[in-house]
């Protein structure tokens, strides 16, 4: 089980800020592939991975990052703070 968080327009497209997912995905990319198969709204959110950023356990990382032991994965667009 892993907490999956969505922010900004990713959250809006998927329609919720957070969900708990039962997954055996080895990497972030594997998890994304699983999610895209679920429903159209996931496909819409994950259609262009170059427009997305990912954090595992609140650390920015790449889509090839392993999920072993991870408690939380977050997907969001490039940050626009400051």
């Amino acid at each position: 089980m892993i907490d999956v968080l969505y922010f900004a327009w990713v959250r809006e497209r998927i329609g919720l800020p957070k969900e708990r997912i039962e997954t055996g995905a080895a990497t972030v990319a594997d998890l994304v592939a699983e999610l895209r198969l679920r429903e159209e709204r996931y496909e819409a959110a994950f259609a262009d991975l170059t427009a997305l950023r990912v954090a595992v356990d609140q650390q920015l990382t790449g889509f090839d990052a392993p999920l072993a032991g991870a408690r939380e994965v977050a997907f969001f667009p490039p940050m626009t703070g400051g």
Partner: protein
């Protein structure tokens, strides 16, 4: 070294007045204040900032730690708001204090460049037509390569 992530408004003038006080080894203070600006054509009703609680604080602390490691900083301050913000309000502020101006300027610009692209905040502009997420600029990511 202070980091504050908050919904509440803050007063940049009062922050500067309190910053770096009572030290004899500070010769230079640089501040940056980011302010809610109207769209070029006008029409902004307000700005809204979403953030990632928990990660926000740790990401900013990591950025600040790197600045302290790279420049001779005697003090630093980072304040960043989230939630709804009105036109003209301060969004965030960075302050750096150093013996000499070069370190204070460089560290402040470094902090800004990294906060822009590495701290989990997302801005949305609300107008009469709806709400638009602000797009990241290629130049923001490119700015990181100079450090």
């Amino acid at each position: 070294m202070t980091v504050r992530v908050q919904a509440a408004r803050f007063d940049p003038g009062a922050e500067l007045a309190a910053f770096g006080q009572g030290r004899a080894d500070i010769g230079a203070i640089v501040t940056f204040t980011g302010i809610v600006r109207d769209r070029d054509g006008g029409g902004l009703h307000r700005m809204e900032i979403e953030h990632y609680p928990g990660m926000t604080e740790s990401a900013i602390a990591a950025i600040e730690a790197e600045a302290v490691d790279r420049w001779a900083l005697r003090d630093s301050l980072i304040i960043h708001r989230y939630g709804p913000l009105a036109l003209g309000e301060a969004i965030m502020m960075v302050a750096t204090a150093a013996p000499h101006r070069g370190d204070a300027f460089a560290a402040a610009e470094f902090l800004m460049d990294y906060l822009k692209s590495r701290a989990p905040f997302w801005k949305r502009e609300v107008t009469a037509d709806g709400a638009d997420w602000v797009a990241a600029k290629d130049t923001d990511e490119a700015a990181l390569t100079r450090w």
